[in-house]
């Protein structure tokens, strides 16, 4: 996975190229499952599909809460998503409804038969001060971490969907939680005083 993040005059520019071990068709399905967009980003606390503004766009609202050290952000983002083809998505932030001055992103999903190659390019201009004291280095590192986690989730969910399709086709038992993408660490049982 290659990720470049630079900040120039208040605008973050990101470019990422990643190989995902899942068929392109399923990667596209995951990225366009807007009602379940919260499955992709663990920082999302709210999401909904809003009425379409027209032009074939799907308008999606997400709210993200995250903290780094003592700095927390609670950010609202509304973007219009255009499904340009079976392999290309364009997203444009709606500044009047978002905590961003501007922003756009493009996803290109390359079908490599055995796997998918995802190219993601984005420019975002936050309307909030990201990390005023520690500077933009942490913001860039956070963006890298988020993109890495996002790719892992896309890959996992795409594979779950493919497995479900095959199970349905072959009329076998649906996948159990054994095929879960990632698991919680179950906390230790509380001591007797809590009972």
């Amino acid at each position: 996975m290659e990720i470049q993040v630079i900040k120039d005059d208040g605008v973050y520019h990101m470019k990422m190229v990643a190989e995902v071990d899942a068929p392109a068709e399923y990667v596209h399905r995951v990225l366009t499952d807007y009602r379940h967009i919260y499955r992709l980003n663990p920082l999302i606390t709210e999401s909904e599909v809003l009425p379409s503004p027209g032009n074939g766009a799907v308008r999606v609202r997400t709210r993200i809460e995250d903290c780094t050290l003592i700095f927390c952000v609670d950010v609202e983002r509304v973007e219009d998503v255009y499904d340009l083809s079976s392999r290309e998505l364009q997203m444009v932030i709606v500044p009047s409804l978002s905590d961003f001055l501007s922003g756009s992103a493009k996803w290109i999903i390359g079908d490599k038969e055995e796997y998918s190659e995802i190219v993601y390019q984005a420019q975002i201009e936050p309307a909030f001060n990201t990390f005023p004291v520690v500077g933009s280095a942490i913001a860039r590192r956070k963006l890298r971490q988020e993109m890495t986690a996002l790719m892992a989730r896309i890959e996992c969910i795409a594979n779950v969907l493919e497995e479900q399709d095959w199970s349905s086709l072959l009329q076998v038992v649906r996948p159990s939680v054994d095929s879960t993408c990632y698991k919680n660490v179950i906390p230790e049982p509380a001591n007797a005083s809590h009972k």
Partner: protein, 124 residues
């Protein structure tokens, strides 16, 4: 002026401490408070192998361990963090819900689930 500031600081600190002591949230027990909600409102659908909620989401809420495992797409609980827990997002309708809810949760039940997760989602 510095003297006034220091007095204000002391008064503010005392007020903050008093407030913190007064608003301790009630302690939630999984077995006493959460299990009845899940049994009455969730389990009619979210039970393997043929509950409609389970078939749609593969989320089986039949035991503490299964709740913590989540479904095929990942965990639905982040212990200590109800804001980022999918279970809380769904019952609070902070995300689009695809589940049909023949047994809607009351405000008090939603709050109990929120407190339980924020207190660490313990098996207590």
């Amino acid at each position: 002026m510095p003297a006034i500031n220091s007095h204000l600081f002391v008064v503010s600190a005392v007020l903050v401490l008093l407030q913190a002591g007064c608003v301790t949230p009630r302690q939630i027990s999984y077995h006493r408070d959460v299990v009845p909600i899940i049994e009455n409102k969730c389990l009619p659908c979210h039970t393997a192998p043929d509950g409609t909620g389970y078939l749609r989401s593969q989320l089986n809420l039949d035991s503490y361990e299964l709740i913590m495992e989540g479904n095929a797409y990942g965990p639905v609980i982040v212990p200590g963090d109800s804001r980022h827990s999918i279970l809380n997002m769904l019952v609070e309708e902070r995300v689009d819900i695809s589940m049909r809810t023949p047994h809607p949760l009351t405000t008090e039940e939603i709050e109990t689930l929120r407190l339980w997760v924020d207190q660490g989602a313990k098996n207590n």
